[in-house]
Each structure stands twice: as structure tokens, then as C-alpha cells.
């Protein structure tokens, strides 16, 4: 028997810090752990005692990449508890803000974080040297998402205008209308981007998976809807904690989510959303999915890239529709009267469903908070992906094996800051 010990220092291009440990003996995996050592920041604990009005300024600090998702799950949940009727137009403006975040986050992942893997580059700057037009186009679309967020929220990282009750200030019609020509241009680029993704070399990976996302009767879900799984489950924010359970494992500062009844992992994010909402894809998104080779059902996590491209088209098409009909909410904010009780809500963050619960005192202070981010829900599923994927590629040299493992993890666009930033991979072979 030969003994081999391999150390490969870093998996990069994910948000947050973690490491992957893999031990192999006689071509069998003896240990595989996705270690999350990003230090905990205790948001749920220090939310306790704070006034509800501060929540939309606190929770986005969990994640610089998807701050709007945190604001949206919070404001909707608190408004439902307080029976706040937000001004007409608020719903659409919030959806438009979310579209900006989906565009920014998805393009960031596809081009800056994931594409270099498939094309054999270390980073997007290297990729840009060989493919300048492609990278410039991607950055232009990403900037469009950023600027849309800034036009509505003041800035794209930690927007300031979303409040419980509406927006502290809503953009003028002409400020948003100015985005239309660029959005139309971006939409025209999307089928070509889908063709690029279709041409990426993807390792074969066939696995069953239970995927979970929101579903909505007449729109592609973002801020509103019930929950469903490809395994036939139907639930909602109110029953979320009965269906999904968090477990604590020694190697991770992030909790793992599993199905409470079966103890099995599940998979959230863009691919889950498309699998459960394919019939609600708008036309260009549908074309992008088809061109990228994505047809449902499709549980292969490597199709997440294709799903992100299709969803970028969803966000652009929705942004064009919303801006076309936009009238600023009047008044901008509803009066908010706090009530004691439990606020729960789920929205679709770029990486999947984001659950918030706030138990609120009569005076509007938060008594207890619980937040279940998408990456924490995916961690167990990621580990299981690796367990299923690695045996098929153990014949590869260490460098390639490492890159393939990183790609399996990166399919999920893991946000370890959310769940708790770089990943270090140690492979020990004996």
C-alpha cells in the first residue's frame, strides 16, 4: 500500500472563510469535512433588545453580497406582524431593488468567481487578458445591477432607503427610466452569455437531490410565495422551522440544515428555483435556459451556472417591466405601529431561501431573532455532493482533483460570511 499525503493550500473565489478536508485510503474516502472557521458574529444575539426600526440597518451587515435579501426578509416579516399596509407601488419597487441584487450577485459569480475555473484561469483579470470583450460586457451588466440598487437604495452595499413601512425616499420616474436603454442592451446580451456557458466543459455528475424554493402562482418568486420541494413538500414561512431543522457539527461555525423528518440534506438556490418555477420564466430567460442546455427536472448542481444566467435574464426582464409601469409610492412610508408577536418571512436571496423570525415585544423591541441563510441550508448538501463526486475522480492528479472539488463547492456560490472566506483544501492520501 502506498502512503500519500497532499496539502493544497487554498480554494479561493468564495465569499467567506472555510476549508475542505479530504482523507482517502485505498481509494475510499475515510473523512470529508467542509470546515467553516469564519468566526461567528452573533447577529441573532445582539438583535435581541434592539428596536424593530433598526433591523433593516443591522441585518444587511451579515452579508455585503446580498444585503437586500436580508432587508427584504426582515421588513416583510415585521410588516405582516404589525399589519402594516405599505403604500401602493412599494411592492414593485422592492422587487426592482431585488432584481438589481440578483443581476449583480449572479454576474459576479458567473464571470468573476466561477468562469475562471471552467476556462482554466486563476481569476477574472487573467481571463480578461484573453477575453477582454466578454469580461467587459459582463462587468457592464454587473455595474448596471449595482447602479440600479444605488438608484433605489442609495448604495449597492448596505442600502439605506428600505425601511419597515416602505422607502425613506423613492426614486423619481425619470431616474429609473434612464436605465431602460441599458437594460434592453443587457437583455440582448443574455442569449449569447447562455451560449458561452453551454460551451463550458462540465464534469458529468448525476445525483438525486431534494430541491427547495419558493413558489408563487403568477410570478417568478422573490419576495412573496409559499415553499415547495421537488420531493413533494408544500410548506411556508410559518411552518419552516417544523420542516427544516438546524444541526451543529464540530468542524463548522455554521449550522447545517436538514429536513426535520428524514434528517436528509436539501438544496436551495437558482437551480432549485428554476426546477420549481420553470413555467413562470419570462421569454428571454426561458430561451437562455434552453440555450444553456438546462431543462427541468435537472438536479445536477453544475447546471447552477446556467440557472444563474437564466435568472439574470429574469431579473432584467422584470426590471424592464417594473420600470415601464413605475409610479413613485405616495406617501413613501406607511405609519408603523408595533405589536407583540412573532414575525416570520422567507424571500429568495440570490443563493436561495432566506428565513427570518423575530419575536417582538409590545414596545417594538426584538426579544429573539432567528436567521437561516441559504448557504447554511446548502452546507450539508455540499458535503454530500463531494462524497458522491470525489470517488469518480480519484484517479486525477492532486491539482486537478483540488480544482474539481473547488468547483463542486463553488456551484453553490457559497457565502460563508452569511453562513459564517477562503477555503483551504487538505487532501491526505494513504
Amino acid at each position: 500500500m502506498t502512503h500519500r499525503s497532499v496539502e493544497v493550500p487554498v480554494i479561493a473565489r468564495v465569499e467567506g472563510e472555510g476549508a475542505l478536508h479530504l482523507k482517502v485510503k485505498d481509494d475510499q474516502i475515510v473523512d470529508l469535512r467542509l470546515e467553516i472557521y469564519e468566526p461567528p458574529r452573533f447577529f441573532e444575539a445582539f438583535l435581541a433588545g434592539r428596536h424593530f426600526s433598526e433591523v433593516p440597518d443591522i441585518v444587511p451587515r451579515i452579508c455585503g453580497i446580498c444585503p437586500v435579501a436580508y432587508q427584504m426578509s426582515a421588513v416583510h416579516g415585521l410588516e405582516r406582524l404589525f399589519r402594516t399596509q405599505v403604500p401602493e407601488g412599494t411592492r414593485e419597487l422592492r422587487r426592482l431593488l431585488y432584481c438589481g441584487e440578483w443581476i449583480e450577485s449572479h454576474i459576479l459569480h458567473v464571470f468573476l468567481l466561477a468562469a475562471p475555473d471552467f476556462l482554466g484561469y486563476d481569476n477574472a483579470i487573467e481571463l480578461a487578458k484573453d477575453e477582454p470583450a466578454l469580461v467587459k460586457m459582463a462587468l457592464d451588466i454587473k455595474r448596471l445591477g449595482n447602479e440600479l440598487m444605488a438608484a433605489i437604495g442609495g448604495r449597492e452595499i448596505h442600502p439605506v432607503s428600505p425601511r419597515v413601512g416602505g422607502f425613506s425616499k423613492a426614486p423619481r420616474r425619470k431616474d429609473l427610466a434612464a436605465f431602460l436603454p441599458r437594460l434592453e442592451w443587457a437583455l440582448g446580451q443574455m442569449p449569447g452569455i447562455a451560449d458561452v456557458v453551454a460551451g463550458l466543459p462540465m464534469p458529468p455528475f448525476d445525483r438525486p437531490a431534494e430541491m427547495v424554493s419558493m413558489v408563487h402562482s403568477d410570478e417568478y418568486p422573490m419576495n412573496e410565495g409559499d415553499l415547495a420541494s421537488t420531493g413533494g413538500r408544500a410548506f411556508d414561512a410559518v411552518t419552516f422551522e417544523q420542516v427544516s431543522r438546524e444541526v451543529h457539527v464540530e468542524h463548522s461555525n455554521a449550522l447545517h440544515s436538514v429536513m426535520a423528518d428524514t434528517g436528509t440534506p436539501y438544496f436551495v438556490g437558482p437551480l432549485a428555483r428554476i426546477n420549481l418555477n420553470a413555467d413562470r420564466l419570462p421569454p428571454v430567460a426561458r430561451e437562455c435556459a434552453a440555450r444553456a442546455g438546462l431543462s427541468v427536472p435537472e438536479p445536477d448542481p453544475f447546471f447552477s451556472m446556467a440557472a444563474r444566467v437564466a435568472e439574470t435574464a429574469v431579473a432584467i426582464e422584470e426590471a424592464i417591466r417594473i420600470i415601464g409601469a413605475y409610479e413613485p409610492p405616495e406617501p413613501q412610508m406607511a405609519d408603523v405601529v408595533p405589536q407583540a408577536g412573532r414575525a416570520v418571512w422567507v424571500t429568495e436571496a440570490p443563493r436561495g431561501i432566506l428565513y427570518h423570525r423575530y419575536d417582538v415585544n409590545e414596545d417594538g423591541t426584538i426579544r429573539e431573532a432567528k436567521i437561516v441563510p441559504p448557504t447554511a441550508q446548502n452546507l450539508r448538501h455540499m458535503e454530500e455532493d463531494l462524497r458522491r463526486f470525489v470517488p469518480g475522480v480519484l484517479d486525477r492528479p492532486d491539482e486537478e482533483l483540488t480544482r474539481l472539488c473547488e468547483m463542486v463547492v463553488r456551484n453553490y456560490d457559497p457565502c460563508i460570511s452569511c453562513a459564517t472566506h477562503f477555503l483551504r483544501l487538505d487532501i491526505e492520501r494513504s
Binding site: V10, F42, H51, I157, S168
Partner: protein, 269 residues
Amino acid sequence: MSASTKPRVAVFKMASCDGCQLQILDAEEALLDLAGAINIVNFAEASSYMEPGPYDVTLVEGSISAPEQIEQVKEIREQSKFLIAIGACATSGGIQALRNTQDAGAFVRTIYPTPEYVKTLATSTPIADHVRVDLELTGCPIDRGQLLGALSALLAGAMPRISTSSVCVECKRRGYVCVLVAKGEPCLGPVTRTGCGALCPAFGRGCYGCFGPSQPPNTDALGRRLVDLGLPSKLVADKFRFITGWAPAFREAADAIADGRKDEEVAAP
């Protein structure tokens, strides 16, 4: 300039939300231009390519909140000629410094079912509490203009100059209506450093202090004004105990208000 003579830049992360690093990634074209003038040799969020030090300029995001980070930041300091702490976490401990006045052990028990799996320090502290820092860029997140300005100044061999005047001054300069006077909105603009362009008042709401204290901040007067607005003293103290609440000026302001409240409670019959 050849790759070997270009300044070597590294980006590291401690406890944070990644938002400040994202500001660097979001500097897109500027970054591609800067990539001609600098050599980013270590930036895990953006690239698999990572070189060991020494580095000419190092940007550190995040606060020190776990035992191993103390050693890590010391090593980074040894490898760095010029170290810039970026963002509210790296310059004041960040919002996670709210634990500093509470029992972190109780925090762990609140969130994690098996507390012994979690290694954490009782406090979240700024980089400058542990190593010498050459420049601090505040903000939650940092301002891209300030960052690119600082890097350009360093490339030109000049020490960057960062304004410490207040959001309040910025508001007057831009001609914004005062949300504190006109709407009675609690606003930390009079005591908060500019850098955001007076964003919150521009969006019809009070500043919440994410760029940290201005110089010098008259927090006593503002605290009294906020209490006069009819805000309970707990909420006024909480205004200071927020994103940059562990910055000394804001910490003292919050404590003074909280102490005042205790005095009132003692004096009450």
C-alpha cells in the same frame, strides 16, 4: 513598469461581511486600470493565485474576533510595508463589537446548540488594537472613491489625506434639507465623519454613524438634543451603540447616556 517593480498589493479578511472587499471588486474598470499600475498578489475572494509576502500595500478588512486572528494579523503586519485597515469592522470592531459590552459566552449559547464547538474571543476589536496601522479608511462599507484616492496617492509617493469633517458639513455643502431640524429625525450627522456623501439625509432619513466619529465630535450636545426629541434614553444610547459603536467617542457617548439614565432611576421616588 515590469511586473517585478510594480507595488505588490494584498487583501486580507478577518471577521466581516465581505462588503468592503466587494467595494474593491466593484471598482471593476478602475481595478483593471490599477492592475496595470499595481500587482494584486493575494486576494482570496477574487483569485486562486496567491503569493506570500512581503507586500508593499496591504488592505485588511474585518475585526479581530477569534484567537487565531491575533497571530494572523501580526504575521500580516510583519509582511507589510504599508497597512491600511478598511471599513468599520477593521477600524472600530464593527457591529459585531456589540458583544463587547455583553457576555459573549451567553451569545454562543444563544445561537449554537453545542457551544464548545465554537472558538471565539469575548470581544471584537479593531486592527489597530493589535498591530500598527498606517492608514484607516472607515465606512460600512468603505467609499470606493476614498480607497482609489488613497491607493493613487500612495502610488504617487504621497501620504493619503482623509477628511475627518462631519456628515453635517457635507449636508450643508450639498444643500440638503436637515432631517433633524425639518423632520425631527434622529440623525448622527453632526458627530459622524463624512465619506458617504451624506447619503442618509439625501434619502430622507437620519445618519446612523457608519463612518464613525468625526473630529471633534460633540456627542454630549447631540445626545441631549435626541433626548429632547422625546426619544427614550435607551434608544439614544443605542444610536451610538451601533455599526461603529466601539469607537471610543461613540462608546463614551453611549455610556454617558446610559449612566444618566441610571442616575434618573436612582433619583426617582
